[in-house]
Symmetry: C2
Subunit: 437 residues, 2 copies
């Protein structure tokens, strides 16, 4: 069969990886796809760099807007990133009847509804396996592999930078700042790491997974996002002593009255498989009503792992290129007219367990005051850790793990505890998930 022609927008890390893998495995990929898949045009601002990689065998341009209109191109791969130009290019490609494969989680988490609607109208596919968890085929698993299930929740380590930092903090007892510096030196964190360390990148990915899992539009603006910048080495240590690890999780959970969609540092039991996902690796744990828990683990970033997902999408799109709409898997797993307006719950309505650390005077009655405040608000205590005061100090750290409570109640409790004369400063709060189905 006739080859499929791919136009590549952006030939940086992932674009270069896509070129490399597609070239290296051309024969094997063709044996699977049933026809050759070829990058026949590349748009990049840096033409010299592009030429250095792909030579003179493909059309090279610095005009991406011309490429998305090129009648010879069947599929556009968007690897430019960002919200603005990428959005225009993707919409333009769709308007020109091109299928789109993208790794751009930010774009889809923010403008996904507009883009998927445009694609639906034009009868083209927008595939985005590479947008979540790099090389792990988690979009396919959620959208197709688990289609029998009512998905109950998803909890994922979906940002390698922060997982690397947290692993370093735990392994080496480093502060956040020191671990970030190590991550930057090793290339695991960018010079401006804001998107990663503030949890925004993870929230983009969690937003996409929530849509697919629950059949709701993408709603990044409703996600609760808390990064790891405030995390202290001692919290990691105390958590460890209580049998927990701290991971930055992207969580999407179905509740009776809506969906919890949140990214924050989370205590999870150390014995869970996902607690042992270290360094820059990613893993997503999915709870379905029929299948129970399944876990998907692998590299969440990098040139070739991400290219692996881009090309898997290219193979899928190639296969269904000329198929009818109803032969294709819907973009967000559910048929476009079957999405619901099941609301995203505000963080105050979230129900989870909590780790609360406070600095308290080391004298009788303090603990009684704290537990009274919690009890009055209906919050029950699961475990406690009280440290001996350091020599010469008359204050000590108290750590409490609560049972599941409503965030609103915990906010109220924290305010009351902080107002006690015997408590110094703020209460540190980290959410806790047992992840046990």
């Amino acid at each position: 069969m006739k080859a499929i022609n791919v136009g590549l927008l952006g030939i940086g890390t992932v674009g270069g990886g896509t070129w490399t893998v597609l070239t290296r495995n051309q024969e094997e990929i063709t044996r699977r796809a049933g026809r050759p898949i070829r990058i026949t045009a590349v748009a990049d601002r840096n033409l010299d760099l592009a030429r250095g990689l792909v030579g003179d065998t493909v059309k090279l341009t610095d005009d991406a807007f011309a490429l998305v209109k090129d009648p010879d191109i069947d599929i556009i791969v968007e690897l430019i990133g960002g919200y603005t130009t990428a959005r225009q290019l993707v919409l333009e490609a769709i308007a020109n009847g091109k299928h789109v494969v993208t790794a751009n989680k930010a774009l889809l988490a923010v403008h996904g509804n507009e883009i998927f609607a445009a694609a639906q109208k034009q009868g083209v596919m927008v595939a985005f396996e590479a947008a979540v968890a790099g090389g792990i085929p988690i979009i396919k698993a959620l959208r197709e592999g688990l289609s029998a299930n009512r998905i109950q929740w998803i909890a994922g380590i979906i940002n390698g930078t922060t997982n690397f930092i947290l692993s370093e903090m735990r392994d080496k007892g480093l502060s956040f700042d020191a671990a970030l510096k190590a991550a930057q030196q090793l290339g695991y964190a960018e010079a401006d790491p804001t998107f990663d360390i503030e949890g925004i990148d993870a929230a983009h990915k969690a937003t996409l997974m929530a849509s697919i899992a629950f059949g709701i539009p993408v709603q990044f603006d409703k996600a609760y996002v808390e990064g790891i910048t405030q995390l202290q080495a001692k919290d990691i240590r105390y958590a460890e002593q209580l049998g927990y690890r701290i991971k930055l999780l992207g969580i999407a959970k179905r509740k009776a009255n809506g969906v919890e969609l949140r990214v924050h540092p989370t205590l999870i039991p150390g014995k869970r498989l996902i607690a042992n996902v270290e360094g820059a690796m990613n893993a997503v744990l999915v709870q379905g009503d029929a299948v129970g828990a399944t876990l998907y683990y692998g590299k969440g970033a990098g040139a070739e792992p991400t290219a692996s997902s881009v090309i898997a999408d290219l193979v899928d799109v190639t296969r269904l290129h000329t198929a009818d709409k109803h032969h294709r898997v819907p973009h967000l797993a559910f048929q476009p007219d079957q999405l619901t307006d099941f609301p995203i719950l505000p963080i105050e309505e979230v129900e989870t367990a909590y780790y609360l650390r406070m600095r308290a005077d080391d004298k009788p009655g303090v603990l009684a005051d704290i537990t009274r405040i919690l009890a009055d608000l209906g919050i029950s205590i699961d475990a406690m850790l009280q440290k001996e005061p350091d020599e010469g100090e008359d204050q000590t750290d108290i750590v409490l793990l609560t049972h599941v409570a409503k965030e609103k109640a915990v906010n109220a409790a924290m305010a009351k505890i902080e107002s006690l004369d015997t408590i110094a400063g703020k209460v540190t709060r980290i959410r806790l998930e047992e992840l046990n189905g």
Copy 2:
């Protein structure tokens, strides 16, 4: 759109689970599939049992051969198991233009080539996600999610019964027989556990994965199969002391001159995520050249987990029901005319590392004799464990871990070691895989 009508052959554990999940999640599955998927007929020898489950709402028959010809049925779900009747029914269903979904790994591992060829000729699909690793969507991951990759190897814990037994042996220091009894009492092992404990079930699954990964026909008869019945509690203990766990792995590995396809107890480093898969859980580790290592974990058996995969296949088949052949994913991942005759290597040609345990006289020179034999055959030693003789004994256990060597050389070394006067009885050999890419 018009509902898809499914005929169910066998309404035992998995069949019952399929009915239950499809009924419970009907609305959500329809929202995904775009049309209702309904079990409209059931064939089972036990009509009373079937009626008790599905009531009078569906056609009930004890004549499965009539059902596979029923013109009202679009897809046949085969959950009878076994090679003989199941084969006839599946071929008959295909001949009648029905798509087939099956959980029958034995059937496909042995008669897959015949069945897939018949399906190809008739233009129907045979889907079998449920045949490997229960609810884990591993077939989809291998066949579609990793289609960019040259798969290098697969190593899977793909039999829950044996993994449960091995976990019990390690946790509680039980003998194999005691652990098997515990597994039977808890329903994790059948009254006749041969297929599981002898590794045959795992080999069926490994055979299917090898075909999909490497683009070769199914060749169960070429698989090397060794179960866990000879495993001693002390080997699990010694392995632990050396930093390893023993798991029954199904391994498929691409080598320059062919494919290794083997099932046997295997030492794997205790720090690997897959080493910590306990009880009846399954996990498959896949190494691809682009993506690196990815791991898939979940329940490998049970009514609803297996039903999860059966129904995911039903949704896929429903979607592509009326599509052209080239819109569909090939049965064995590669286009049917693109399978190769890349050979399965005989076990003597396998290259791996080894755990060797022997009972030796506790006197000078013994170790020198053993290491000389190994060195002469080009086998180098990675680690050694020598126990003090128990009180009153003049023999002791010596455990050696070798670097990677050819099985043939290790066989020769074992024979020579066993012929030493200072060695009592046979050498125990367990293969070892580092699983590090």
